[in-house]
Structures are given as C-alpha cells and as structure tokens.
Amino acid sequence: MATAPLFNEMHADDATVRPHYSPYAEWLAETPGERILEKRAEADTLFRRAGITFAVYGDETGTERLIPFDIVPRIIPADEWSGLQRGLRQRVTALNAFLHDVYHDQDILKAGKIPAEQVLCNVQYRPEMQGLNLPMDVYAHIAGIDLVRAGAGEYYVLEDNLRVPSGVSYMLEDRKAMMRLFPELFARYSVAPVEHYPDLLLETLRAVAPGGVRDPTVVLLTPGAHNSAYFEHAFLAQQMGIELVEGQDLFVDDEIVYMRTTQGPQRVDVIYRRIDDDFLDPLAFRPDSMLGVPGLLAAYRAGRVAISNAVGTGIADDKSTYPFVPEMIRFYLGEEPILANVPTWILRKPEDLAYVLDHLGELVVKEVHGAGGYGMLIGPRASRTEIEAFRARIVADPARYIAQPTLALSACPTFVESGLAPRHVDLRPFVLSGRDIVMVPGGLTRVALREGSLVVNSSQGGGTKDTWVLAC
C-alpha cells in the first residue's frame, strides 16, 4: 500500500549501507549462513525455556506463544537519539502539565486551545481526580511513546501510551539474548546499556510515594497469571525486588492499603498497577470487577497510597486529544515541538471533515476511543463498499473520528523464511517521570513480520528486535 519511497534503516540504496550499519554488514558477510540459522534456533530455545511468552486463551494443550524475536538489531546513531530524547522529554513534560491542568484550573480549556466539551465529556476524563494533588504533580510516571519514521526518515509520534504501557520486558530480554548469542557484535559496537531500567523504574515509583513515607513499600498489581502480559509483570516485580500482588492480596482498612502476608497485614505505599482504571476499585468504578481492591480509590484520594500511573491519564493519550499535543507544548512550555505529530484531520471540524470525505481512499480513519486496530478504515486497502459504509458512519457522528495519511513506515532488514528482507518497524521508548525525567537509550522496536504489513502488534504477527543506541 505504501506508495511513498520506503526509508530503509540499514541501506541508503541498493548498493550503499548506512555508516552506522556497516560494521554489522561486514560481520554478516563474514558469518556463515548455517551459524546464523543455529543462532536463530538457539534464540528460540532461550525464549521458550525462560517462558517469555504471552498466553493464548482457551488453548487446550496449554501452548503459550512466543513473541517472535528477530536477531538483526535496529541501530540508532547517538546524535539521532539525543534529538529524540529531547523531544520525548519535552512531550512528556507537556502531557503531565496538561493532566495536572485539566484536573485543576483547566487553563488550557479556558484559553480555548482545546474544546472544553471534548475533554470534559470524554469517558477518559475522571471527575474523581478533580482537585486531587499528586506528589510532584506527576500523573504519567511511565509513558510509552510510539515513534515511526516515514518518507525520508523523519520521526513522527504515532501515539502516546500513558495508561499501562507494556513491552519493556521484551526490550530487556532482547538485549540479554543478543549479548548471549552474539557477544562478538558487542565488541564491534559500543552499545548504550539498557539493563538499569528496573532500577530507574523503582526509583521513580519510590519518588512518587505519599509525602512523609520514608521507606515506601512498592508493589506491582497484576490481573493475574492468565493475563497476556503476565510475563512482564512477574519479570518487573522480580527485577525490582517488589511483591507481585493480585487484587485479592490487598485490602483497605480505614483508608490504608495493606497486603496479606504470612506474618499478617503489611502496609502498602505505592501501587504500580498493570490493570486499567475501570477495574481498580469495584466501589468506585466497575462494580463487577474481581481484579481490583474495594476502597482503593478512597485511600488514594485521602493521599494514603500512590497509584502509578495515576487514575485518569487516559484523557491525555486519547486519540481525540492527540492532535492537540503540539499546542500543549506551546501553551505550557512556550516551546516549539521537537517531535512532530502525524498530520491529523479532526473530523469534528467541518473543513477537515469535507477534505477527508473527499479523500477517503487514501487516508486512515480511526475511531477516537478505539484501540488495537478496531473501528479503523485503511483507505488504500478498503473496497468501495467498505469505504461507502464507513462514510455513512462518519457522516452520522463525525466527532467520533480522526483521519491521518497512510504513512510508509521505515523498514529494517529482518530474517524471514526466504532470508533477509526489509520489514516495517516502529519504536517505543519508555519515559519515566518522578523527581526527574529519565529513560534508557532506545526502547522496544516492534517489527511487522508479514511482507508489506504495517501491523506491529504482537497479537497480530508482530515481533521484536533489540534496539541499539550507539554510545558515540
């Protein structure tokens, strides 16, 4: 579907390898094909034995699927990363400022920079958070910002993930596997380390504990072993040395949260939750939720426990909010955005709507509250009938939709059945905000393994690669 020229991470053109990939290309040329095949098989064994899998629901044989791991690294030169890092820091600062503002004075709405009813009537806006003060005014302590490269190689932010972003365990396991499988490559490259991520995360979580707690007890709240991201929950809890708890392990007494231990109740100060707002507390949100802790929100509002990420961050990563992030950066920081948004038509605006209806065949149209590719029209791939059906839905309720051009995502060489071939990639860096904003170099590179596919989600045939930011 990509008609624009494709940006290849490794090759500038058929004959030329980009300078930062040339040591890799040399290694590849020197290394016998059988050895690479052996290493691929070894990687498979490593991941399977360690159980780095995601659960496949309802499978009788108990099979758990491996997330495909590709052995060709995605390499990012140091100067390129430092630009991205500045942009990420700026963007996350503005997003946190926005969250603090909409749950306090709402200056940005009063200034008319974002339509007030779009924010206040959004289901992601949590009135429970209004007026609540959080340590250091930080809401999204852990942010996963999805970046893509298009056309000539310029980066765009595709979306912000500020609720429970996942994938960081694959970033860490991919690096561990690469170092074990190809130690010789790390002699040719000076790769910036990422292994200290769990330390940074723990420091961030401890920093956001309620005021006055000297040695906070931090726990990780998981929906349980059957959740598809359970591997990551267990992995992070273990790496940080904190308890991995389920809702049933916690209870609230007099607005204080405790966990049930073999020695009786123990107080909990910070909850790194990996469950959505809706399931946190059956008394406050969905009454049928078995995953949460009754009374948790009251304890949170009383300032007796920290929840990370904060409740209500969804209002800042909602697709209807996304087009306004550059405006937030200008409004709160007085700066021009370093990282560009993908150009977006907001269909609640009549002129945008008119343009999009005229160009449905070339655009991607997304439902603002949709996720995971649902409620989405990919114009160049859709049939006439599909386009007309979607047109009717847009006309019926334009405010539910946004539209973007179809981007030609950059590609990175990847091992597939037929050998080495370019496949589309994205990049998710993880940005931590506590006392400071910190991140490890790089992030998780996801790769769409099917030829031509732009879908990098693990549930739909996506894989991962180790991401190397070069220490210059």
Binding site: G51, G62, H233, A234, Q238, E243, F251, T261, T262, P265
Partner: protein, 316 residues
C-alpha cells in the same frame, strides 16, 4: 511474604514431590511384575496401587478392568485424572508460574522445562513397553527441581514454605507406600519377623531409594520389622516419617506467626512420637492402623498450615 505466594510455593513443591512418589510406586510395581506374572497377582498388585493413591473408583469407572498398561497410563498420563503424574507436573508448573517472580529463574526454568518435556513421551509406548525410562525421568526432574531450589533460592520464608510442602507431602507418600505394601503382603507379616518374600521387601526398599541404606544400616537379612523401622523411625533416612516430620517441625518454627502456636505444637507432638517411639509398639497396635492414624494427623496438619499461613482472612 504474601500468603498467596506462600500457598503457591507450598503446592508447587507438594505436587513435584507427589509426581516423584507416584513414579516410584509405579516403578516398583513394574519391576515386581517381571518376577511374578500370574494374571491375578498382577491385577491384585495394580488394584492395590490404585487404592493407595485413592484412584481405584474413578479408574474403574473409566476402564472397568484393571490391567498393567491401563493402570500405568491412568496414573502417568491421564489428563482427566487430577492425581496423575502429568497433572501433578502441570499443577506444579501452574503454581510456579503464578509466583515465577519469587522463584530464581533457574527454578522456574526447571519446572517449566519439565512441563514442556513431558510431551515428548509417547503415551502408548511408555505404558506398554518402556515405562522405566519415564519413571526415571520423573524422579530425575524432581531431584533437579529440589537441587535447583536448594542451590539457588534465598534462604528466607519462600524457601521454608517450599520445604514445608516437600516434607509434608513426602511423609504422606511414604506412609501410603508402606501401608499399601503391608496390605498387599500378609497383614501379619510384619509381626512374625519372617523374611517372607525377599523380593517384595527389597522392591519396597528400592521404591524409596532405601535398599543400599538398609544394607548399610543393618548388615543383615531383610525383615519386615526392620523395613518398617527404617522407613518410620530412622531420623537419618531422608524419606522416613521421622525425618520428614522433623523437617516439618523445624520449618514451622522458622515461619511461626501469631496464629500458628497450636499447629507447631501438633507437629511437635507427631515428631516426638516418632522420635521416642518403638517399632514394637507400632507393630503391636497394628501397622496399618498406626499408619492410618499418622495419615489423619498429617492431613490435619496440612489443613492447619493452610489456615494459619496460606489463606488469610479479610482483615486479620
């Protein structure tokens, strides 16, 4: 530590130990069948084994007639039988999975690999031709799990609850193995101190890895009385009831909490009975009644451990 975590660790090791003991029981039966192949003896032997593991009724409901191959298959692989080796390993792994963050990665990987590898055994071949390799494999995986736990895990409460599960389960299993063997042989055999069927008694010893130990300790003929003494009262014998209860008691001292005093007292009482008991008295009472009273008391202990440590009440 979290009560739920302790619960998973405890059951992880109980199921691992149970799988091992099932393999031991099946292994010894198969060896004995090689010696006496009369159909009714073989049937009686397997019926007795199915009874020991509490599975005779469901087995009969599914199969009707007891044969060696069907009994091996049922106890080894049957998925609908929650007490099969396959299902024990499955649950051991499930419990480990639920607390994989608490385990060292070596421990988790060992249990996970066991769960993955059992699939490479072909059910039909194992039960009809070469069950020995399978039983050896189960025992080996259990040794490996125990070794990796003791060799890599931090010596804190997590390890204690893991050990608690192992020893309580082993005490239960040794008692059952003994009970089954004494039932299968003449009920009064033990009393008469008659060497009886040498192979039966040596098979029993082998099933709990005690044959060489017996030779070393007694340097004498194998008699039922000494077999009972070795497996019940010898502290130094790692699968004896006394050894297991001694470890259970030690562990309960280490993890004690405000509710567990009575549980510890009862464990101590059972242990003291073994420590100061005489085999003559047990034989006088009748070994089978002695063992069933032991099984009742350990099962009571298991329930009390669950209540004191593993399932905590709402706000206490």
């Amino acid at each position: 530590m979290l009560s739920r975590t302790a619960d998973h660790l405890y059951w992880m090791s109980r199921y691992t130990e149970r799988a091992e003991n099932l393999a031991r029981m099946l292994d010894v039966n198969c060896r004995m069948t090689l010696l006496r192949q009369e159909e009714d003896v073989v049937r009686r032997r397997w019926t007795s084994t199915l009874t020991t593991v509490g599975q005779l009724e469901p087995f009969l409901a599914a199969h009707g007639v007891v044969t060696q191959a069907s009994a091996i298959d049922w106890i080894s692989f049957e998925r609908s039988n929650p007490g099969s080796i396959d299902q024990c390993l499955d649950r051991a792994r499930d419990n480990a999975h639920a607390v994989r963050g608490t385990l060292t990665s070596e421990t988790w990987e060992t249990l996970n690999a066991t769960w993955l590898e059992i699939r490479r055994f072909k059910r039909d071949t194992v039960s009809s031709q070469a069950p020995g390799d399978f039983f050896e494999w189960v025992k080996f995986r259990s040794h490996l799990a125990r070794g990796v736990i003791q060799g890599t895990m931090l010596q804190d409460d997590a390890l204690e609850f893991t050990l608690l599960g192992t020893y309580l389960e082993r005490a239960d299993n040794t008692a059952r193995i003994l009970d089954a063997r004494f039932e299968f042989l003449a009920p009064e055999a033990a009393k008469s101190d008659d060497a009886g069927d040498y192979y039966e008694w040596s098979a029993l010893l082998r099933s709990v890895s005690a044959f060489e130990i017996y030779r070393k300790v007694y340097r004498d003929l194998i008699t039922p009385r000494r077999v009972a003494e070795l497996l019940i009262l010898r502290e130094a014998m790692p699968r004896s009831l006394r050894h297991c209860m001694s470890r259970v008691q030690q562990t309960l001292v280490k993890v004690a909490n405000s509710r567990s005093a009575e549980t510890l007292r009862r464990a101590g009482e059972i242990h003291a009975g073994l420590q100061y008991g005489r085999i003559e008295d047990a034989l006088e009472e009748g070994l089978r009644s002695y063992l069933s009273s032991f099984l009742e008391r350990t099962s009571d202990l298991g329930a009390r451990i669950a209540r004191d440590f593993l399932v905590s009440e709402a706000t206490s």
